[in-house]
């Protein structure tokens, strides 16, 4: 841990200056600004300035019928788009009381875990790229390419999927997807060793990531941090286990946690979660039930008057969809609880006392997507 600044405040005031990190900056993941107060290269204060990619998704929802809003949640978190898509579907299904066929649930689990892997690749290796190593990121891009091809085969698009429908999924998976996923899992198991050799054991990486940006258990709970960042701080919390939804209770998987709470721990949690996701996919492929992929639902959904909250685990943490219905075909209000927002604001607490270079590393390790913060 670095020494805290020891000079008195009057001198500090004369020494500090402000640096606008972003919104046009190579490592702020899109349009995101940090107003850093620096003393030399030491960070005194870090203030995220959000709103550069605010598109008003929640307001748009109030002017669209439920079906029309389907493609919007994937645009909130473009990296775990499918999970958001299913999350919205499940929230509406819970509100209407629609029973989803088991085969559809299994397909949802398989595809959303694939999506989680592709998102965690970026989450884990974006930290490595923020630290200056470009190659591991390109390697993961190679694996991710296979994955995107698979998902493109069933969902039709490569990034902002809209595959889920109320009561099921758009179309059934085919043999190419089934075999391709199996091949991909086998390939990835071999590749994970390469990643660990290249990155996890690298002395410079460990020196840069260890003991940097420690989120203690208390801080994490105080700020409402969820996802790999929370599990890196030693809290065993995963919505898939704690508030089981879909068919997740039928699979055996663990919640990987680390006690340290630093950048390295968050990276390790992501890498471990990739392996857990592979386990889930394999189990789901083994026990894929036959049957329909779509429940009988009316052409236009109008949920009964009332409100519903549905929480699910995206690649970044716990997401909540809160839907208020007035009984019409248009939602009265949709509120999204997005994990990136809470995860980002923990930086105001943990950044002071670190170097400028560490702020980039911490931001990379927390892994936020900007459109999800701003929505």
């Amino acid at each position: 841990m670095l020494n805290k600044i020891t000079i008195d405040d009057a001198t500090l005031e004369q020494r500090v200056y402000q640096l606008n990190l972003g919104p046009q900056h190579p490592s702020t993941h899109g349009v995101m600004q940090f107003i850093l107060t620096l003393d030399g290269e030491l960070v005194v204060a870090c203030e995220p300035n959000i709103g550069y990619s605010h598109r008003g998704h929640e307001k748009i929802a109030e002017n669209r019928i439920y079906e029309q809003f389907l493609p919007y949640p994937p645009r909130m978190d473009y990296l775990s788009a499918l999970i958001f898509n299913y999350g919205y579907c499940q929230a509406v299904e819970r509100l209407c009381g629609i029973e989803v066929p088991r085969r559809a649930e299994y397909i949802r689990v398989i595809t959303s875990e694939l999506n989680r892997i592709s998102s965690h690749f970026i989450g884990a290796f974006d930290l490595v790229m923020a630290l200056g190593a470009f190659t591991p990121f390109m390697y993961c891009w190679d694996d991710r390419e296979v994955l995107l091809d698979l998902l493109e085969g069933v969902a039709g698009s490569r990034l902002t999927y809209c595959y889920g429908r109320f009561g099921g999924v758009r179309n059934d998976i085919d043999k190419a997807f089934y075999d391709g996923t199996r091949r991909f899992i086998d390939r990835l198991r071999g590749r994970m060793k390469d990643y660990h050799d290249l990155v996890t054991g690298n002395i410079i990486f460990i020196k840069r990531a260890k003991d940097i940006g420690i989120i203690t258990k208390e801080t994490a709970l105080e700020f409402g941090v969820t996802g790999p960042s929370l599990r890196g701080s030693g809290v065993k919390y995963d919505v898939r286990k704690q508030e089981p939804y879909s068919v997740y209770p039928e699979f055996k998987f663990e919640i990987p946690t680390r006690e340290e709470g630093d950048c390295l721990a968050r990276y390790q949690v992501r890498m471990a979660e990739i392996e857990q996701s592979m386990n889930i996919i394999e189990q789901a492929l083994d026990h894929l039930p036959p049957g329909p992929i779509q429940a009988k639902v009316p052409r236009f959904i109008s949920p009964p008057e009332g409100e519903g909250y549905f929480a699910f685990e995206s690649a970044r943490g716990a997401v909540g969809f809160y839907i208020v219905s007035d009984g019409s075909r248009v939602p009265y209000r949709i509120k999204v609880r997005s994990p990136s927002f809470s995860n980002l604001y923990v930086m105001t607490k943990i950044c002071p006392g670190h170097f400028l270079a560490d702020v980039i590393a911490i931001f990379g390790s927390i892994d936020v997507t900007v459109p999800e913060i701003d929505r």
């Binding site: 390109m138 410079i204 980039i360």
Partner: protein, 331 residues
């Protein structure tokens, strides 16, 4: 034709042998260095691409070999912008200050037994003296840009270059006390066939690491750490002014590799092939290693960089120097 020869003889008689040779050498350098840099950038992009499982550019010329030439021409055509709040004079002079030492370093490098522009008694000292001017240019560029990223980069570059010059000189000294000469060809002649790397492996390692840091190459590229400081000291530079910084960076890498070749790998000496081939083989091998390291390792942090220089490299370099001196005295 006879008139031309007559003119040549007159010029030769007027200027004398040394000045004429120097002038011709400089002209060759002026043509050779930018072209060589173009090839080096192409090589780096190819090495980088193949390390990251890509083919890199393939369209302009066979395997894209003309791509960087096209880029260079494009760069010459770009508008040169001086930002309003910049210090105009320093902003203008910084790229010139960085390119001159880079060119001067080439003067005394012996590419082969004959292909050397000027042999000096203080050859090695000359290169070190001029290469330490580089830091002045970086400081000027960073300060004059009036940009906070550039300023942080300039401050970093000063601290880094000052720190790494010490182990660099110390490791060179352990060679100099073995040869008792600063002349390049004397050093080459005094070496065993494999080179001084046989006797001085630690000095070679220290020299290599220090030159990597001096040239601001990864994992010590904190001066232009693109994920932190956008582009570091040359953030505000455009067109050929940026091109000069770029040129100087790669030229410094060549000089560093050439120095390592002369000091530790036996220079142009080698069996079967002519000297110039051996020299460039060794230089290119070292440059390849620099690229290889760059695209494999993450960047170190600033305090780690300084700790590494002051707490590891300098003590080891000093120890190595003392041991060399004692062994030479005893043997």
């Amino acid at each position: 034709m006879t008139q031309l020869i007559q003119l040549w003889n007159d010029v030769y008689a007027f200027l004398g042998h040394d000045v004429t040779a120097g002038l011709i050498g400089l002209l060759i350098l002026l043509a050779f260095i930018p072209l060589h840099v173009v090839i080096l950038v192409w090589l780096e992009m190819k090495v980088f691409a193949h390390i990251t499982l890509r083919p890199a550019f393939m369209r302009v010329g066979p395997h894209g070999i003309l791509q960087n030439l096209a880029d260079g021409i494009k760069m010459i055509g770009k508008e040169i912008i001086t930002p309003k709040p910049a210090d105009k004079f320093l902003f203008f002079i910084a790229p010139i200050v960085i390119i001159v030492p880079a060119f001067i370093g080439y003067i005394i490098i012996p590419f082969s037994p004959v292909l050397q522009i000027k042999e000096l008694n203080v050859g090695i000292m000359l290169i070190f003296a001029f290469s330490s001017l580089t830091v002045l240019s970086l400081l000027m560029a960073g300060w004059a840009s009036n940009n906070k990223y550039s300023l942080i980069s300039a401050v970093r570059s000063v601290a880094q270059n000052v720190a790494y010059e010490i182990p660099l000189l110390l490791s060179t000294m352990s060679i100099i006390i073995m040869t008792n000469s600063f002349r390049m060809n004397d050093i080459i002649a005094a070496q065993p066939p494999i080179g001084y790397i046989l006797y001085q492996p630690i000095a070679f390692l220290i020299f290599f690491i220090s030159t990597t840091a001096e040239c601001n190459r990864a994992p010590f590229d904190l001066v232009e750490a693109e994920s932190e400081l956008v582009a570091g000291f040359h953030t505000e530079y455009t067109g050929m002014r940026f091109g000069l910084f770029f040129l100087a960076e790669y030229t410094n890498v060549v000089i560093a590799a050439a120095m390592a070749t002369v000091l530790f790998l036996g220079g142009w000496r080698g069996p079967f092939l002519p000297g110039i081939v051996w020299f460039f083989l060794k230089v290119y091998f070292l440059i390849f290693v620099v690229y290889w390291i760059r695209w494999t390792f993450p960047r170190v942090r600033f305090d780690q960089l300084m700790n590494f220089a002051w707490k590891v490299l300098i003590p080891f370099a000093l120890l190595n120097l003392i041991i060399t001196a004692i062994v030479l005295k005893v043997v």
